[in-house]
Symmetry: C2
Subunit: 321 residues, 2 copies
């Protein structure tokens, strides 16, 4: 059995291999560029963790892990286009460094490459994994669409926001664990608890991501803070602030949302702080973590095997990048 850190190192080393052919370079060089700018590679490591929770690592777990990482990068390349983001992990995004058409095709071909890794999975596991992968992929697109829709709406309820980020973020974390577990021969019941563990962790992670986008350190976070605020993005923080703000704060917030003032970010952050949004985010994160750990507890394997998943959770929740 391996620790979370060991599995991360193993995956990162394995992932250094070439993922694309050489020609046409105009398509694959931008693809390689984006893969090379790194990232935490959390999702593929979750495939390995889900797998090793139930068995020795199955050789196909790396194919699965590659598929998940390629899929995740596909979503990032296309999301960056939709968000008109110029930086990702501190580096120029594909549509800015190259052009929109190239970024569109690079994303497309990354998604297809993900399915090429899936195709190598043993026939006995292939249908079940392909089905979960497909369902998850569709949900992630639905989540992104809802995210865009919400950005144009005046009011978004916390329930709708949680539904959206569950689709956009959590289901891929959950499915990464479960697909690994399927390869490990896990029972349906164990798979379900592991999926729920991943889903709750995912929501906690998003609470933190929204927090970091507002209050994070640009040098560590790899992108300018306040991006969500500038785009009037509905986030855990903004939705909660609008729920708890007094009339004056609420009016000020709404006025800021319809402005492009130079000090917009600064002023919104000040309201967030005066509404206690930062403390609330901590508590909310803790609640989801608690629920996640209850599901982890319910998985019928000896507790020692669960340690790497606890390490993962701690890593994610204490991260400052």
């Amino acid at each position: 059995m391996h620790s979370f850190k060991e599995l991360s190192e193993k995956f990162n080393k394995a992932f250094e291999a070439e993922h694309f052919p050489t020609a046409p370079a105009s398509l694959y060089e931008p693809g390689n560029y984006f893969l090379s700018i790194g990232g935490k590679r959390i999702r593929p490591v979750m495939c390995l963790l889900g797998n090793e929770l139930f068995s020795d690592i199955h050789p196909d777990a790396y194919q699965l892990a590659n598929a998940v990482e390629l899929f995740h990068n596909f979503t990032l390349v296309h999301d960056d286009m939709m968000d008109e983001a110029s930086l990702r992990r501190g580096k120029t995004t594909v549509h800015v460094k190259y052009d929109e058409s190239t970024a569109l095709l690079v994303g497309d071909v990354m998604l297809i490459r993900a399915y090429e890794y899936i195709q190598h999975i043993q026939p006995q596991y292939l249908p079940k994994i392909l089905q979960l992968f497909n369902r998850t992929a569709k949900e992630v697109c639905e989540g992104q669409q809802l995210d865009m829709d919400f950005s144009k709406m005046e009011n978004v309820s916390m329930d709708n926001y949680i539904h959206m980020i569950t689709l956009k973020t959590s289901v891929l974390l959950a499915a990464s664990l479960e697909m690994g577990a399927i390869l490990g021969g896990a029972s349906v019941n164990n798979c379900q608890h592991l999926y729920e563990f991943g889903k709750k962790i995912g929501i906690a992670f998003q609470v933190q991501d929204d927090y970091l986008d507002a209050f994070g350190d640009a040098a560590i976070f790899g992108k300018e803070p306040g991006g969500d605020i500038k785009q009037n993005k509905k986030t855990f923080l903004l939705i909660h602030a609008l729920e708890v703000a007094n009339a004056t704060q609420k009016k000020e917030l709404n006025d800021l949302l319809s402005s492009n003032a130079a000090d917009k970010v600064e002023k919104v952050l000040a309201i967030f702080k005066s509404c206690g949004v930062d403390a609330w985010a901590e508590a909310s994160k803790a609640k989801y973590m608690q629920e996640a750990f209850e599901h982890l507890e319910a998985i019928a394997v000896v507790s020692d095997r669960k340690k790497p998943l606890i390490e993962l959770a701690n890593y994610l929740m204490n991260r400052n990048q």
Copy 2:
């Protein structure tokens, strides 16, 4: 056994079913819109034809056919964005009717939906079909990238153009037939000849498509003629014209390529005609058809079973839309 026309009708009827869930409507309504504007549905019917060449229609052949049609529509939605096309089949394109971000996600989710249809294929055929589907999907993206690259290059050789359109257009026709054949239990040798038949038909089809884009009737063709000329797209016609034009014609053509004159299309067409490009296109199409029929001939099944494929070829080659 069914005729090409019967299979077309059967598929079109079956394809009327809903392909997407209802929510989020902001994602799936545009998807349904694009699917509803029709198209010839040639590729999915080719899955059925490839299948029935070797056996009674396998129930999974319709899953496969749906996958291929969804995949094709994914490429159209994204290609329209890259080409900045406002019309497709005489109707407003998705990125114009909705917006760029929606079109991006609609394309993505169509590609994933294609894989959802693939996932239902029986495990004994699934790995082989998934592999061919993936390879083909990647090649289609490569073809589209090369097409964009070529539009920025001054000179493109006929060989490079044929390579590009083979990837962009032919391999999907070829793979549609072969995937159907795999489901029909065809031998490797028969699969290869059928694939080559599809590939050659695809090139002939593209010669004609380039011809129609220049000389087609807007009312029938569903898009303005001369679109390729306006975009300085390298086509069979332009590349051949540049090969055979005399010095005066060549200079005039090159001058036109760097202009946006109102009568650009008209003048380029006049040069095409004076170079005999239209007659050459006919001859070229006939050559590829001849090669296609040689491969069809080589497939080891009784000739009666091949009749629907001959009907398909005739339909494609005499079409004026």
